[in-house]
């Protein structure tokens, strides 16, 4: 019998805010233990938490970036459990009325497209961080109360690769939208994986196994690569799986039981009495809509479609948004967007880095780059000279046409002049001429270079080749 995997992911992402979710402590990674704590995030009795408006805004924006919707009424609930890293003995989360519902993420997958539907994205708080020692554990509450977004996918993922690509696409969107820095090294993204297997064609899901607290996307992929065959192995031999939580061990490359259904937590959710519901009005939702940026994949596809760019160039402009914006300004003024992309990526970007210049400090307007390319395309200057003109433009901000005129850089396409240079080059290098006639093609390139040198880089390259060959073969 053939089996298939059914995978759903719960992805936790720390929001990019200055302060914590309910108090004015800094949301900051790497501070000395328990330096960013106060009575509220330490869970002292009698304190009053107040929701961080920026965290609510980022949550709503995430909903839209993931093609979902902002709900008209969201509230917070207490999820009750005892654990040393949760000082209040509950975690505040959104249980049945989250801030956002629905949506989907699209991504490239094995040369085609993949898509994962989103159930919801809700807002909650992070917990403290424990460090384990020989005979005891230590808890740092700096992380407690940091706004945490949980993005729940539908159980529609079918393979480890699909899970991996989905997570990368999700991360790209969140970084792009300014929702989170998603720094994996700093634990800003963590993932719970739900996985079951069933015979192909069967409707009911198999026993749900949860793998908790994965902190890398490659870890998720590896865990699934181990867990899917393990479950299929059990079921296909007539065994029975039961609902449990497992732990992934990066070192052994295996999962192991953490707790079974019998030991599962009973969280007794109830409405958080200290926090009021959130009811966004139309102007609020409109202001969030105004912050929706073009998603990375859509941008890549648009650059490939509208400017006929190869995927690698388009990807460069996805990762460097301002550079992409600059490219677009120049490309709109040009007939050769691909040439513009080459100049922007190969020349302009390099010059900016070398000279530590920002895009805003460039002395010439983007259209001047289009003009320069036009001079080359129309044969007015050679591509060799174009490099010099570009350097001059970069230094002075002068228009390319002005530089060409001032420095007399127009390409020489006058055959008489080029013939003269060719004669000189052949006369000065009889050995190379002899070599070429004897069949050494490389000798021609040397002679071409000599002619170009004599013309001070201004001779038309195609004409040099033609004339040289004609003369040498005569």
């Amino acid at each position: 019998m053939e089996y298939e995997a059914v995978i759903g992911l719960e992805t936790h992402v720390q929001l990019k805010t200055l302060s914590k979710m309910w108090c004015g402590c800094a949301n900051e990674f790497g501070a000395e233990p328990n330096t960013n704590v106060c009575p509220i995030c330490l869970g002292m009795p009698g304190v009053l938490p107040v929701a961080n408006e920026e965290a609510l805004r980022l949550t709503a924006l995430t909903g839209l970036l993931l093609n979902g919707r902002i709900t008209p009424f969201a509230k917070f609930d207490r999820k009750n459990y005892f654990y040393p890293d949760a000082s209040k003995n509950y975690q505040v989360t959104q249980y049945d009325q989250p801030s956002t519902l629905g949506g989907f993420v699209e991504f490239e997958l094995n040369g085609g497209m993949g898509r994962v539907e989103i159930t919801r994205a809700h807002l909650e708080e992070d917990v403290g961080k424990s460090t384990h020692f020989d005979r005891f554990s230590g808890v740092d509450f700096n992380r407690a109360g940091v706004p945490l977004l949980e993005i729940v996918s539908e159980p529609v993922i079918t393979s480890p690769d699909m899970a991996y690509e989905y997570l990368n696409a999700l991360k790209e969107i969140l970084v792009y939208g300014g929702i989170s820095d998603c720094d994996m090294e700093k634990g800003m993204v963590r993932c719970d994986v739900n996985i079951s297997v069933r015979p192909v064609g069967q409707k009911e899901l198999g026993a749900k196994i949860e793998i908790k607290n994965m902190n890398s996307f490659s870890g998720v992929r590896h865990a699934l690569e181990y867990e899917i065959p393990r479950q299929i192995g059990v079921v296909s031999k007539g065994g029975k799986l039961s609902q449990e939580t497992r732990r992934w061990d990066d070192v052994t490359g295996m999962t192991e039981t953490m707790r079974s259904k019998e030991q599962a937590h009973d969280y007794r959710y109830f409405p958080e009495p200290d926090l009021m519901p959130f009811v966004p009005d139309e102007p609020y939702i409109a202001s969030i809509k105004a912050c929706v940026v073009e998603l990375p994949l859509a941008r890549k596809q648009r650059f490939m479609r509208d400017y006929q760019l190869p995927a690698s160039d388009a990807q460069t402009f996805v990762w460097d948004v301002p550079l992409g914006g600059y490219f677009e300004s120049a490309a709109k003024a040009s007939k050769s967007p691909k040439a513009v992309a080459n100049w922007v990526i190969n020349n302009l970007r390099a010059r900016l880095t070398e000279t530590k210049t920002t895009l805003a400090e460039i002395k010439f307007p983007p259209a001047a780059l289009a003009e320069l390319i036009d001079l080359v395309d129309s044969g007015k200057i050679s591509s060799r000279i174009a490099q010099d003109v570009f350097a001059e433009m970069f230094n002075t901000g002068e228009a390319p046409a002005v530089i060409v005129q001032k420095k007399g850089l127009l390409q020489v396409s006058d055959t008489g002049a080029i013939e003269k240079f060719c004669d000189e080059a052949i006369a000065a290098n009889p050995k190379s001429a002899e070599d070429f006639r004897a069949g050494k093609v490389a000798a021609l390139n040397f002679l071409k270079g000599q002619v170009m040198k004599l013309s001070k880089g201004k001779a038309n390259t195609n004409l040099i080749g033609e004339i040289l060959e004609k003369k040498l073969k005569a």
């Binding site: 961080n52 424990s130 009021m276």
Partner: protein
């Protein structure tokens, strides 16, 4: 009104309380009475009343995203039974 059955031992475990048999008995009766009292609500027709999480008609209570400072670490750790290197020391967590 039928008293509502409640598994006191289970609830006590969730709350990490250890009760003597006498306490279990007493709490059981008390909790039953409370639930019976609350059950009176089922006599009222609430079909036209929206469920609510809060009695106060207040929404959108938020604060600006501003760092306003924290406690000195020594102060934060003052009530901790055991502390070391700025950490709250707890029994070893194994799960």
């Amino acid at each position: 009104m039928a008293a509502v059955e409640i598994d006191v031992n289970y609830v006590a475990h969730l709350a990490r309380l250890s009760l003597t048999p006498e306490e279990t008995q007493r709490v059981s009766t008390q909790l039953g009475n409370i639930l019976a009292f609350i059950d009176k609500l089922s006599e009222v027709d609430v079909s036209k009343v929206e469920p609510t999480a809060h009695a106060v008609p207040l929404v959108n209570v938020t604060r600006p995203d501003v760092v306003t400072g924290s406690l000195p670490t020594a102060e934060a750790l003052r009530n901790a039974p055991t502390k070391a290197n700025g950490l709250f020391v707890v029994p070893k967590i194994v799960e």
